[in-house]
Each structure stands twice: as C-alpha cells, then as structure tokens.
Symmetry: C2
Subunit: 156 residues, 2 copies
C-alpha cells in the first residue's frame, strides 16, 4: 500500500485516536478477567465517509455512530490491533509509547499460561492507560492482583 | 521532502488541528478590518518535541504553550498558510472544504482593491468557520457589511 496513506492514518490516530488496553471482569475466562485491546479513530459523524475510507485502506475495522454526533472507526481484538499496528506503527509519533506497550502486551498474551504473566500484562495495561492520561479506570492490575491473591493463584 | 511526512502531518491536522480565517477590527487597516489566517496543530505539552518536529519539517511556524497543558504549533499569516497548504493540501481529507475556501480567500486577498472584494473574502471566512463548526464569532461578514454601508463604501 502507498506509504503516504499509512502515514496519513498514523497522523490522524496521533491527533484524534486512541490505543487502548482495558481489563474487564469476565466469569467465563480462565483468570476471571479479560484483556480487551482496541484502536479507535474519532470524527464528527458528518465525515463518516472519510472514516470508512480509512477502514477500507486498512482492510479491517468497523464504523459505529455514537449518539453525541461522533462516529468511531474501531479496530478491536488482539489480532486486528496487531495487524493495524503492524501497518501504522512505523509512522506513529505521539503514541509511540502506547504502541510499544501494546506490542509487548500482545506478545506476552500469545504465550500467557500463568497468573503471573497475566498480571504482568495487566501492569502493561496500567502503563498504557497512564500514557493515555486515562483516569477513573474501574479495573487495574491491582484489582487483578488482589483477586489472584484471594484465589491463591499467586505465591505469597 | 518525503511524501509520507507530509501525509502524516496532514492526518494529524485533520485529527487535531484547525484551519482558520478570522475577521478582526483594526483601525489602522484600510477597511477597518483585518483578515487573520492561521493553521494550528494542538497537542499535550508533554509531546512538544513532536510538534517541534512538525514545524521543522514544514520549515515555518512556531510553538507556544498555553496555560491549560496544551501546546500549539501555529502557522499564521497569509504567506505561511499558503506555504503550508501548498505542502499538505494534497493529503488533507476531512478539512478539504476548509482548504478550498482558504485558498480561494488567499487568492482574492492578493488582488483585493475594493470593499466588495474584501466583503466577499469575509463571506468565505464565514463559510470556513461554519465548516469548522465555530460558533460565537464576534465579527462576521455581516459586521463588515454593516460598517461598510455606514461608511458609504458599498453602493446601496
């Protein structure tokens, strides 16, 4: 693909996008928590066709319209996020730190077999949220650690 | 310059930037008003070095730090704005309309000799502001027209 298209989308993501790794409680998951990765591009709904163009260029993702006049182009799931970062990563500047933390987390998740590795990924999620200046997170690595200790999943 | 650098900056501008043409009263100007053009890129002050990088790539502009934690990379003045749009214009997507209106205005301003042409440029400034969803503008083409009529600069 044309390098300048990828660079454009990377610039847009740096300006008006997010790279997120969230910890969500899920009873049916092995450790009681799930890690949800996503990249989101935001724009006024009147420009939805340009968000669609970006999605089409990247070959993944979907558009959704919020009820506050903003539309989102969202890439979620570890595989999709890895694909998109593989394409844009080289051009991203402001969110370099988030890219590095996400790639490290995705890499660890591929091989995660133990509670301690899962907890390490949650700590990466915390650092990624800090890089995003996200406050008021409901579930952090601390939540996961406390639960793991209560369940005796971590050695004392 | 590397096309992908220009495309990146264009993407960033589409995501977190502004293209503005403002009408400001100025007693020492021929028509009592001045048209101020500017392109601004915004980012958290902790990322100021990336704004500096963009300024250095474009070869014009300056960085200023606001007191709300946001820094701006600003290109102002008709000539600088024309230079920057000349470089980025091809890659801009979401703000295409603003680019077209700005270029039309800058072109008219080069040859502006009459109140009617100046007023036409003010009308372009109004349309550009509308495209930016800017509300609460103090001075619009209507303000200029009213003043011109009072001064007898326009035929009735």
């Amino acid at each position: 693909m044309d390098k300048s298209i990828l660079a454009y989308i990377a610039g847009f993501l740096d300006g008006d996008g997010s790279i997120m790794l969230q910890i969500k409680p899920r009873k049916d998951c092995r450790y009681g928590f799930r890690l949800c990765s996503a990249i989101v591009l935001y724009q006024d709904s009147s420009h939805e066709e340009d968000l669609e163009w970006m999605r089409d260029q990247l070959g993944v993702g979907y558009i959704s319209r919020r009820n506050d006049g903003i539309s989102e182009c969202r890439f979620d799931g570890h595989e999709r996020v890895a694909t998109v970062l593989g394409q844009l990563g080289l051009y991203i500047r402001f969110k370099r730190k988030q890219v590095a933390l996400m790639l490290e987390a995705l890499d660890k998740l591929k091989s995660v077999q133990t509670p301690i590795v899962f907890l390490e990924v949650c700590q990466l999620a915390d650092r990624l949220s800090e890089a995003n200046y996200t406050s008021r997170r409901k579930h952090t690595a601390k939540t996961v650690e406390t639960t793991f200790r209560r369940k005796g999943l971590l050695s004392p």
